[in-house]
Subunit: 314 residues, 2 copies
């Protein structure tokens, strides 16, 4: 089993990726803070390279590869943002990348991966189909698999967002991040533990494997088909990320589809920034009343901004 | 005739409004810079209070009023952003505000004005109707008119955006701003003259009074009805702003409606920020090839982000 990232791994990741990914701004919004009854600090990873925090983990993993491994290339399977981030990181290191994507991935996400010069292999929208396609690439080329979340290096990279958030915002009482596969959550938990900040996870009701797992103590499958608008959060957790969550998370909150859409629209309207539905899941959790945020200083990671502008949900 | 703002007026405005309006960030975007063939620096006034640069001029004018004048309140006529900005500035000074708005103003702009506690008076969408309604308010209450652009104090306030842009970006070769009534242009020209930066204006082909005026040397009326999507740029210039433009502008570029929409969408997609069509006019001018920007360091003011998210133009 892959090891969960520790704080030292996040620090090492930060040193490795400095100058290769953006130090994104931490934004405030008095209107949304007032609605939440808390002081909110938004880490704007929608401004990150390739449009999402995934660049952090991808760059960390790609830059850490020994030359002899790296030159055979990298491969991954991803609903989109990790694939684009890996394609970008591989291009900058000058190595080939192959991205296995479900046929159902949004057109802008496919275009982003192709735009960074990666080879795309389409597959059925199931984890099994993705894994099989990726393994075929590995057998053919010897490429290194860089998984979207089940990787200590990837999760440690994602944790650098929380580290920067704390550095910019000052002391926080708690942090809220969306959970899909759990890489961002695992990295954030490592930071929260070291810095004494409670970490909550938020996920769509329609993709609630983390919440069910947290309640039962057993890793849960996703109930298929996953129909949430938050297309970045449709994967189930891995054994590693699940164990990290159980060991450290303060709670897991689920939110409805309408709450996600309302939160997404609110952020666009009030903050004048473009965030994708997966980002809005954490905002919806903050506004839903189920988190103990009243009067607290709360950090939230806005995970990405890759949206199909022709298919807005309102 | 109102005096055009000088650089000293802009400096005084900056001192007056410091702490009352946001110092908005200056953003970069390598993709859009590459398309323009220039180094672009975007002053993100869509993040300004009330969602547009208009807060600068409104706060400057309201804060400069003597107490005896201020207590009778302020009034204006505005297609939206200036009205909201004035309502906010008046509320913070604790004085009443009345905003005359055309019946055709977008719903979110009306809601913003009402949300800041101002009284709204609806009128026909003509300058004559707006002026008549505003004069009736003045006759009734003794309120001070704060015009949307034909005011030295207002235009000087708008110029602070250019001042901050230069402070953050360092030396620039030129600056590009959209022109409607010309308040932002007049303030920016004062800064450009003092700092040795050429200033270009951009406007919609469908509201091209500034371009026709620049070509002919005579103040031109707007050709009615004005059908541009850039609803913040539909007013004609005043004698003051026109004179300032003739004295200082390096050129006026017009852009098509489709170029405005494409530029707006490009900024949303690539920069992950919400800008309104009037802001996109300056970006469209940069991408259109008619400005001498090749290889230059170019500042552009993204003027606002108040968009009806239910009525996107694509």
């Amino acid at each position: 089993m892959e090891q969960a990232p520790q704080f030292a791994d996040v620090i090492a990741a930060q040193q490795r990726i400095t100058g290769r990914v953006h130090v994104t701004p931490v934004l405030r919004c008095s209107a949304i803070s007032a609605l939440a009854g808390a002081e909110l600090f938004f880490k704007a990873e929608n401004f990150q390279r390739a449009g999402a925090f995934k660049a952090r983990g991808a760059f960390n993993a790609v830059l850490a590869l020994p030359d002899a491994v790296a030159r055979r290339g990298v491969v991954t399977h991803s609903s989109g943002n990790h694939g684009a981030a890996l394609a970008l990181a591989a291009r900058e290191r000058g190595i080939p990348a192959t991205v296995v994507m479900p046929e159902t991935a949004p057109a802008p996400k496919k275009a982003a991966v192709a735009g960074y010069g990666a080879r795309i292999i389409a597959c059925a929208p199931t984890l099994a189909a993705r894994l099989a396609a990726a393994e075929a690439v590995i057998a053919e080329t010897g490429a290194q698999m860089i998984p979207p979340f089940d990787s200590c290096m990837v999760a440690a990279g994602q944790g650098t967002a929380a580290l920067e958030l704390l550095d910019a915002a000052g002391p926080l009482d708690l942090m809220v991040v969306p959970v899909g596969g759990g890489g961002l959550l695992a990295g954030t938990l490592a930071v929260g533990k070291a810095r004494g900040v409670r970490v909550f996870a938020a996920e769509p009701e329609l993709a609630d494997d983390a919440a069910r797992g947290f309640q039962t103590g057993c890793l849960q499958p996703q109930v298929l088909p996953v129909a949430t608008i938050a297309d970045g959060l449709t994967t189930a957790m891995s054994t590693m990320t699940f164990a990290a969550m159980l060991a450290g998370v303060a709670g897991v909150v689920t939110v409805s589809e309408s709450a996600i859409i309302d939160a997404m629209r609110l952020v666009w309207h009030r903050m004048k920034i473009v965030i994708e539905p997966s980002s809005a899941v954490a905002v919806a959790a903050l506004l839903g009343g189920a988190l103990p945020v009243s009067g607290k200083r709360v950090g939230v990671v806005l995970t990405g901004g890759n949206v199909d502008l022709d298919r807005l949900p309102w």
